[in-house]
Amino acid sequence: MQLDARIPAGPIEKKWESHRFGMKLVNPANKRKYTVLVVGTGLAGASAAASLAELGYNVKAFCFQDSPRRAHSIAAQGGINAAKNYQNDGDSIYRLFYDTVKGGDYRAREANVYRLAENSVNIIDQCVAQGVPFAREYGGVLANRSFGGAQVSRTFYARGQTGQQLLIGAYQGLERQIGLGKVEMHARTELLDVVVVDGVARGIVTRNLVSGKIESFVGDAVVLCTGGYGNVFFLSTNAKGCNTTAIWRAHKKGALFANPCYTQIHPTCIPVSGDYQSKLTLMSESLRNDGRVWVPKAGGDKRSPDQIPEGDRDYYLERRYPSFGNLVPRDVASRAAKAVCDEGRGVGPGGLGVYLDFADAIKRLGANTVAERYGNLFQMYERITGENPYKVPMRIYPAVHYTMGGLWVDYNLMSNVPGLFVAGEANFSDHGANRLGASALMQGLSDGYFILPYTLGNYLAGVKPGSIDTQHAAVKDAEAEVGERTKKMLSLKGKRTVDSFHRELGKIIWDECGMARNRKGLEGAIERVRTLRDQFWTDAHVTGSGDEVNKELEKAGRVADFFELGELMCRDALAREESAGGHFREEYQTPEGEAQRDDENFCYTSAWQWKSDAEPQGLVKEPLTFDYVKPTQRSYK
């Protein structure tokens, strides 16, 4: 199989402009004849659904929460990047493009990244116009902060609740269209399958999470904006409901899954405290602007942090990376934390933690300024740990946070299945092997506000509207399959809870396909995941019935897909015999312990094609070329 990324010709700064000009347009009077199904109403989905409805398309939108306002995007704390150069510190579209390609360890598509950087400036304008209350200076202009992996200050924020405010902005735009009757919203509705007719995506099968009803919807295009799959690890910073089901079902219907092994482990999260732990809490990376990371110089130093004098502390990021210091990219910071803990220098229970210390910042700026910048994060930390970070340094440890991998899409954000578009964290585009902080919000909104409204229109202009209905055989088949699967899960009546399986799966993936991977571990993990999956299908216990609110059934469906994805992640990690960004293969590192890429053999995107339940996916490669940013060994020294 050959993949065509459909990257427009021409110089990079002209590609998007000329591509847009070349697109076909749908006559305004015809737009309402086209139905677009938007699954997921986080930043990517809400912005796409609202913008498409404004254009006049007939939109149906879906989410599993009780309201679009609750999508996981709401939890983003730190900020959103944009190449506005309001600080006059040398930022530009080109620099944001450059930083993102480099930050992604040269495993992203240049043309996509450049367009993302271009769109970034429009996003801020759009959000301000919607009433997003970004932080401001006394003079009334927008404020900025810096984030990891960049030496300019280009991050816009709204206290520690940037994701919330951006999502509320998009949500309000969406609710406005719902009120106008242009979007039909289906909340508490979960996608359980994608309907493909003659190779083209034409609909979805859903379960109503209140009544249990299995129902189908058809349209002229399907857009998946269903977020990331970090919850394969069980413990992650993602909201509990985040899942892979939508994109996994699409994968099994023919959509290629790209770079599944690229996961981001975020360096600043609250360490695990007990077996009952249900999720991990992120402490925004913006804290690294003012907090200093350290551990004791000597292993086994059990003194309380205030008893450890300066001379006995190792500010290891500042020591190892003098020019970026505490602001090195996430993958680098996470691995450095793991390294000091592996040396026995970690702090807190179990030795899995490092200090993030604000004492200097409080001395320099005063407690009030620190409170103004991070007050709500400090409060959250205290609520969870019972410790006051104004007095005692925070303890942090890396945790799974974001998945760079996702469904493969071309430059138009369309998967290899015609009519199936994928946006936001659910696709693989733009971040390569590692995402820079404050860039996911940017990507979600760029996809939804400024790319899909064009590229989807171009696609629709070439198809005849409304040509199938829900009585079509392919729809009925998909419905029957979903019904069977649900019945099967409910009839297992084994001995183990769904959560216990999920925890065990998560532990395997974390140990073998987490911060560091190696051949032996991955090979073992594949076997163990398979065995566990087989056990799940005989020994799980899913209580209740299918025709009522049944949260165990919801979880079971998601975990069942996580097993298959987990296996693919390990396969992908095994096949990529190099280290790149968040993918660190122990066999491939520099003498200083940094990731060692192999551009000669692995400068490609891995896209996996589903075959059948009986045989593993096949690998399709999309070669990457770098005409503007020449790949070098990433250095933050």
Binding site: Q65, I74, K84, A129, Q164, Q277, T281
Partner: protein
Amino acid sequence: MRLTLHVWRQRNGRAEGQFVKYDMPNASEDMSFLEMLDVLNEGLVAQGQDPVAFDHDCREGICGMCGFVINGVPHGPERGTTACQLHMRKFKDGDELWIEPWRASAFPVLKDLSVNRSAFDRIIQAGGFISVHTGSAPDGNALPIAKEASDRAMDAAQCIGCGACVAACPNASASLFTAAKIGHLGLLPQGQPERDRRAVSMVERMNAEGFGHCSNLGECEAACPKEISIEFIARMNRDYLGGAFSQRPAGARIED
């Protein structure tokens, strides 16, 4: 610590509900309240019993999905804290806890502790937005906004839409929720053109959804996990009155 739980169990919106007593012998003080319920549910499932349904997602106090009443207080005893961020160290060994859903006719129970809050979305649909099409915005810095105004707008915009204000109010009024949105948008220059009609449409929608009237008891502010001030309700009332006098026939929808 050992706790006794009395949890509201109700199969669905049509069924009768009642409190059911559970023993929780081994809660740790580092657990969140929802993790304590997870442990209860793991035990129930292991015995083949139906686990307690409750809504939750982020577990970080920001999505607004979680929420129920603990010993008569929405989200429980810790001020400014959602149920998911409430930790068991706030309770002590031997405590007896009564856990029940939000009670309001505009929030019908779906199952156990889970309720239908879609009325909130409809209030937003009535006018909780600034009518701006994608792509038509001027430069973000074209319009300077005083930091004080922007900060104040943010104080209101922090609302997570959980519904605790309604649950806390003896009249089940949604005034704090509605006022927070009217305040957020009305404090910003971008929100001025629609300010009057927004206030009128949203307040009328709120009334039509069956929420009660505000009698200034302030219970909502005390229960709000984001500690949104009831001053916004006074502001909403002013905007509503101003709008009702100056506006087009009441109830008309904002069209584009």
